[in-house]
């Protein structure tokens, strides 16, 4: 049943995407590890970790597309789930440092030592165990999304109201995590990681493995998201997006459907965050910044809302553009370029890169009447 669920109605686009990521997952680490640095096909470690980061963002974008593109929930707080997953992973990595921290305290992380904490807060317990930490990577964002969604969807908070309270959520978490008293390292966050599962996080092989893992998770996330959207549940969810109350009159418990999708999506975002942290080496409260979540929305819009593959594409394109623009002669003016990119995409590619390409493609093949109506706006 599960496999059927995962591969049902796979289309060409999805297949291409899957093959591509699978190929990257195998080839890039190999090219990094086996080929000599001089070789034409050698992938430098820095490039690999950069792309590892992009792919984490891609997973985050897919998770957002699932709720926004298909269910119409414009979450302006998805960064929070990403960051929570990241913190769960960060806590594990912190505990792995053991007594190798600067103060040599076997239990307390450095930031606690120099702020005179005497014992480990209870919520840090258990994070020295990898399975527990991984469970938390899923459970913490998932639970938060569940509780938050349970209230919000039951109260029928929709549209911008929902968007803004998700923003309030991430903003509140931002402020809370900034507080040093919370015990998560305040502004500096968690950093200076040493090992993951006994392997040095900095080591080239570990990086390669993390990269491959990111690809695998991206594939898994994509398959799950796809499985959901092509199933009948996916149709219900789209119906909810376009005419929520009508769906209710058909007997669907709209709140449960939304809650399900929202929670799954939050878990996916959490996994993305967890993979992100060991690759960039730091997790800090600025990941909770509302602007980050808005940016995630923008990746999805750029790539093409409601297309999954497009969301991933958007994340990679925008972040790649950022990487390119922030170096070289463009550096002082890169915001012009990025801003212009956003404006131009909206004006000339209203359905995002993928949506526009798809239209163009289908127009060339078989003309089909297109509805001019738009999905019910979120006000």
């Amino acid at each position: 049943m599960i496999t059927r669920f995962l591969i049902q109605g796979m289309d060409k686009r999805g297949l291409v995407f899957l093959c591509l990521i699978a190929a990257i997952a195998v080839l890039v680490p190999l090219a990094n590890l086996l080929l000599p640095p001089g070789s034409l096909f050698h992938v430098p470690t820095s490039t690999m970790s950069l792309w590892g980061k992009y792919l984490c963002y891609a997973l985050l974008a897919i998770s957002l597309d699932l709720v926004w593109g298909y269910c119409g929930i414009l979450s302006l707080g998805h960064g929070a789930f990403f960051a929570l997953g990241g913190y769960a992973m960060g806590m594990y990595l912190m505990r792995q440092i053991g007594s190798r921290g600067t103060y040599g305290n076997p239990i307390l992380p450095d930031f606690m030592v120099f702020l005179n904490w005497s014992e480990l807060p209870w919520y840090w317990y258990g994070f020295s165990s990898f399975p527990f930490a991984m469970l938390m990577v899923l459970a913490v964002p998932g639970l938060l999304a569940f509780v938050f969604g349970w209230f919000a969807f039951r109260s029928r908070v929709t549209g911008v109201y929902l968007s803004i309270i998700t923003q309030a959520l991430t903003y509140a978490l931002l402020l809370a995590f900034f507080r040093n008293d919370m015990g998560f390292g305040g502004n500096n966050g968690l950093t200076d990681f040493k090992d993951i599962l006994g392997f040095n996080v900095q080591a080239q092989t570990t990086r390669a493995a993390l990269f491959a893992m990111t690809c695998i998770m991206l594939i898994a996330g994509f398959l799950i998201a796809r499985g959901i959207v092509v199933s009948k549940l996916g149709k219900v969810v789209i119906a909810i997006r376009d005419a929520e109350s009508r769906t209710r009159f058909l007997g669907y418990r709209v709140d449960r459907f939304k809650l399900f999708v929202f929670t799954v999506s939050a878990c996916m975002a959490g996994v993305a965050g967890a993979l992100y942290v060991p690759q960039v080496g730091i997790i800090n409260p600025s990941e909770f910044a509302p602007a980050n979540s808005i940016e995630t929305v923008i990746w999805v819009a750029v790539g093409g809302r409601g297309t999954l593959v497009g969301a991933a594409l958007g994340a990679v394109v925008v972040n790649y553009a950022k990487t390119v623009f922030t170096s070289g002669f463009m550096a002082p003016y890169w915001l012009f370029a990025l801003g212009a990119l956003f404006v131009l995409v909206t004006l000339f590619m209203p359905k995002g890169i993928l949506g526009t390409a798809q239209d163009w493609w289908s127009k060339r093949r078989k003309p089909e009447p297109v509805a001019t109506a738009e999905p019910a706006p979120a006000e």
Binding site: I164, I165, A168, V297, I298, A301, F336
Partner: protein
Amino acid sequence: MTRLLRMIALILAVALSAGAARAQSADEAFTRLGADSFSDTNRAIELLIAGAHPQAAVIIEALAEGRLLAGGGAVVVKTKDGKLLDARTGAALASEPPGLNPVRLNNGVRRNIQAALGGLGLLNPDTAKRIAAAEAVFKSRDVSLLPVIETAISRETDTRAKAALRQAQAAILIAKTDAPPFDRLAAVDVLRERGDQDALATLRSLPGDASPALKDAQARAVADIEGKLALWRTVQNLWYGLSLGSVLLLAAIGLAITFGVMGVINMAHGEMVMLGAYTTFIVQEVIRARFPGLFDYSLAIALPLAFLVAGLVGIAIERGVIRFLYGRPLETLLATWGISLILQQAVRTAFGPTNREVGAPNFMSGAFELGGLAITWNRLWIIVFAALVFAALLAILKLTPIGLQMRAVTQNRRMASAMGIRTGRVDALTFGLGSGVAGLAGVALSQIDNVSPNLGQSYIIDSFMVVVFGGVGNLWGTLVGALTLGIANKLLEPYAGAVLGKIALLVFIILFIQKRPRGLFALKGRAVEA
């Protein structure tokens, strides 16, 4: 005038130099003034006063204003109109001696000067100065000034000045263990009457050896004042809340138009506010450079200009981008985010990344007391201004044909055009109005916040919260939302601290929206779903 000052100095000399050696030579004072050391300068002031130097008042005043120059053994007073006088003699100098530098001040020296001038001021003919001087003594509680105060009280005719002097006297007496018990009891009453934070502090400083009766009186007075102060503190917090609310209102009200009425998720709203603030900066720059006399009117001049600048930029954005996006509100988020990045960077490129100085005109500087309430003028004006903007906007939207057309267009653009409404123009005007109002907010915010390229970013989230909390599309909701959030924030802050207070407020918003999923002033009924 000079004779009067000399006389005061004499009286002071008697008062201050009880134990000091009288026969210090004035020379030492002048040497010390040239030594470029704060402790020497302090000592020199003491010496000048103790020695009742005829030029003391002039020198000290010059020192306070940075007009006292010293160097190469000479000490020179520069008069306000730029003439040079020999400090010792007061004689005019023909040429400037070489190597002169202003005698430097630090807070210690400044305090000494203040005390000296304060002592000098107790008998100043200007009532305001006398009151200020009495206040200074109240704070310093300098026992040695008691006789001067008493002389002053006996001569005083102005009731307010007399009260101030009495309070100063009381402050000294409280701590003076050898004063007659009856006088000290009376002093407690005077302080109780005064009833502010300073009185409380003074009362608390009652020495431990006081008589039981005195202690009892003091305890009652303290309790009395504390009760009163607690009440005032609540009022004060409400006032702060009102003031924060008005700032939020100003920041959000433009958004209530572009987002609330038009449905454009306008992420560039903050940048419109920023443009308003920068317009103020430019206006002030021009005024500083060309028409310094107009400085007090700079904000009045900036207001229409900021409205125009932000409004025109808004219209340009609407015509250039937004108009292609109607019916696709989510895309407006993407485009306006892009625009906001561009505007930020444009301002950064044009004006540099650092803060720009926007000064406060005189009528907006300082504070006044209203009962136990300290009210700063700038906050008061901002509240008034916010109220005016709100009323004007409400009138435009509800009472004018263009307001009606704005609402019609945003509810059903196609049908509005079929009614003959020029939708394009209305859209541009509406967006321009919202942006222009944001520009106005920028003028006000430049008075209390940074004028930097990041200005807008710091308000955008709060603005959205306010509009949504109040209920999208309802101007009254925005008003009540802003005030509620402002006041709640300020009432929470003393207990929870700024950070936790803000978190609590955000959680409150989240919970509140569960109760009222369409904001405070939610529209209800069929019409909304249609």
